[in-house]
């Protein structure tokens, strides 16, 4: 496929606001997880919380969008000069020709949770306590970001659980390739809410202690929140910036909340990404694993990675640092993979103490410098939705 240049990007997550915070956290092998400290009663667990989200003020005229998910989106948009880069893009392309494709799993559901709590005895929620279409609706964050950035092009929000914002890259590629837009902003936003905390708790997939993907003692996920955005344009000859080189998508068709035990279809997504990029497994230097820390997920992904790479690529998973940012995991870890290329290192795996001998894929435990020319990021979600992305320099 024709590579898409990442003209600008930004990340905000538990490591902090902006790319530098993520880069420093990854290089240091730091974990930003902490014991849960939300105001509401919650299950005992650790979370990857972004400081100060609740204090973000909505811009004038956009106050109806106020909710944690949109506050987090705004906080992220304001880092790394991203808004300026979008402004510049609007001088090159008409706003009608810039697409917007975002991923989220739960949008602003916390607004509805809070309304239910406030009006616990009422058979019908009274009007006025929140604007559903601008907060909880699955497109709400798309509508907010579109309005904040002044975009007029094609847009939708993808919600395929943990693969959502990885699939946003594929949607952007399709829309640009089909001639519907000249550039696209992709990203993902997912914020802490009781639904996911108690939901994963009910499925017995929530770790009581910091998650430890790939560890023999691993026992579940730590939920994090995060947001990230990237501005994509078709790469021109001579561009040597970081590019999306390939993507692959597949469906497990196995079970709603358990991955295929052999990772057959996750492997298919990786192979499809390689095919689109015109690359062989040996051409990759780093694989950012989905590595959530549940027993079944890591085992399934291990089998899939073995079948494609047979141990020939440096692998690590980064959720011990940030927590699992769910619908934002795709963009977060895609941009982590890009940082590995740009800064020449392999991120380590905080909280990993005893690598599981039953997992054949050897992982990098401590961050180390290493030249990375091309990297893959895996996102494998609930409902069996798999997406793999490949990044590298366009000129190579």
């Amino acid at each position: 496929m024709k590579p898409l240049l990442i003209r600008a990007c930004t990340l905000t997550n538990a490591f902090g606001q902006g790319n530098d915070a993520s880069l420093a956290g990854l290089r240091a092998g730091h974990s930003a997880l902490r014991p849960i400290d939300l105001e509401e009663a919650t299950p005992p667990t650790w979370i990857g919380r972004v400081e100060g989200v609740e204090h973000v003020r909505m811009p004038a005229g956009l106050s109806g969008y106020a909710c944690r998910n949109n506050q987090l989106a705004l906080l992220a948009l304001e880092q790394d000069g991203f808004m300026g880069a979008v402004h510049d893009a609007k001088t090159r392309h008409a706003p009608e020709r810039i697409g917007l494709f975002l991923g989220t799993s739960t949008s602003g559901i916390a607004a509805t949770e809070q309304a239910y709590a406030r009006h616990a005895g009422d058979p019908v929620l009274p009007g006025g306590s929140h604007e559903h279409a601008k907060t909880h609706n699955m497109f709400a964050t798309g509508a907010f970001v579109r309005e904040r950035l002044g975009l007029k092009g094609p847009a939708h929000v993808i919600s395929t659980a943990c693969s959502s914002s990885a699939k946003a890259f594929a949607a952007a590629h399709r829309h640009i390739q089909a001639g519907l837009c000249d550039a696209a902003i992709v990203g993902g936003v997912d914020s802490l809410c009781l639904t996911t905390l108690y939901g994963f708790n009910a499925l017995e997939l929530l770790a009581r202690e910091p998650c430890r993907p790939w560890d023999r003692e691993r026992n579940g996920i730590s939920i994090g929140e995060g947001a990230g955005f990237a501005l994509l344009e078709p790469a021109e000859n001579g561009d040597d910036g970081l590019c999306l080189l390939g993507y692959g998508e597949s469906s497990d068709a196995y079970h709603m909340s358990t991955p295929h035990p052999e990772g057959l279809w996750a492997a298919r997504a990786m192979l499809d990404a390689l095919r689109r990029a015109g690359l062989a497994p040996a051409d990759l230097d780093y694989l950012n694993l989905h590595a959530t820390g549940t027993r079944a997920n890591d085992q399934s992904e291990d089998r899939a990675v073995q079948s494609v790479f047979a141990g020939q690529v440096a692998c690590s998973g980064t959720k011990g640092g940030t927590g699992h940012t769910l619908g934002a995991a795709g963009i977060t870890e895609a941009l982590f993979a890009c940082m590995a290329i740009e800064h020449g290192f392999i991120p380590g795996m905080p909280h990993l103490e005893h690598p599981d001998p039953e997992l054949a894929t050897r992982v990098v435990r401590t961050s180390r410098d290493q030249r990375v020319m091309r990297a893959m990021s895996n996102s494998l979600g609930f409902g069996g939705s798999n997406c793999s992305l490949i990044f590298g320099r366009g000129g190579l």
Partner: protein, 265 residues
């Protein structure tokens, strides 16, 4: 972007299938919004079928019709599921449980609450490992889903199944998000280059306009306005008439998506 419409599904009050509903859309018989029985379709093992919510059933009933009438094999076909809200009934149960002592959230409700739950059940039921996307663009969800499906079809040159659905809002949330009637529709789209006895649709770039296509029949117009997925009704009516027609579907902001329909033969 162009495609054949190789199969159509329709599942709404008084429009229980494309086969029976198209006469009402063509005004050959009066439209009556008769109550809809929302049964779980006969795909997936009984355990999974029991867990299907109304929203999932609406989506899958529509999808099944479109595939069956196309004669194509579902297991290789990528899918796009478009829904403005997803499953607010399940969200209502989750948010209620979160206010009760002990927060008794049901694991089944939680896994059904993901926007891609209908897609998950569909691919499971069809044993399809093809790519699938589940999306929302609010009231523009049908148009956005159609665009996404057509980009996939154009680039991969393969059939793509579009399913659009929204379920009625539970009473507690209704004032916040009024969706009155269930509505599901599905289009099995096939590359225009395939020789096929099926109507063609061509999508043009969105245009800003004061208004778009509507339904002349008051009850059908009420249905169209009362459910984001039912915004597709003017397109379905044009396909039912099987004539050279142009319609628009609401897109984002004040824009509309123009669609030209070319009859089958």
């Amino acid at each position: 972007m162009k495609a054949h419409v190789a199969g159509i599904g329709l599942f709404a009050p008084g429009l229980e299938s494309w086969a029976t509903g198209r006469a009402s859309l063509m005004h050959r018989q009066d439209y009556v919004a008769a109550p809809l029985t929302i049964a779980a379709p006969a795909i997936c093992p009984p355990n999974e079928r029991r867990r299907m919510t109304s929203a999932i059933r609406i989506a899958l009933q529509s999808a099944l019709q479109a595939v069956a009438s196309s004669g194509l094999e579902a297991s290789a076909i990528p899918t796009v599921f478009a829904s403005s809200e997803g499953d607010l009934d399940v969200i209502h149960h989750l948010c209620t449980a979160l206010t009760l002592p002990g927060h008794p959230v049901s694991p089944t409700h939680f896994h059904n609450s993901v926007h891609n739950a209908p897609a998950g059940y569909w691919h499971l039921g069809q044993q399809s490992h093809a790519c699938s996307t589940s999306l929302s663009a609010g009231d523009a969800s049908v148009a956005a889903g159609l665009i996404e499906a057509l980009t996939m079809l154009t680039i991969e040159q393969c059939p793509v199944l579009l399913v659009a659905y929204d379920a009625p809002t539970p009473a507690r949330l209704h004032a916040r998000c009024p969706i009155d009637a269930p509505f599901g529709m599905a289009l099995l789209l096939a590359p225009a280059t395939n020789a096929m006895e099926a109507p063609l649709i061509a999508v043009r770039p969105p245009v800003v306009a004061a208004s778009g296509s509507s339904m002349a029949h008051p009850a059908l117009e009420a249905l169209r306005q009362g459910n984001p997925a039912a915004r597709s009704l003017p397109l379905l009516r044009a396909l039912a008439l099987d004539q050279r027609l142009s319609v628009t579907l609401p897109y984002l902001d004040d824009a509309f998506l123009p669609i030209d329909i070319e009859p089958c033969c």
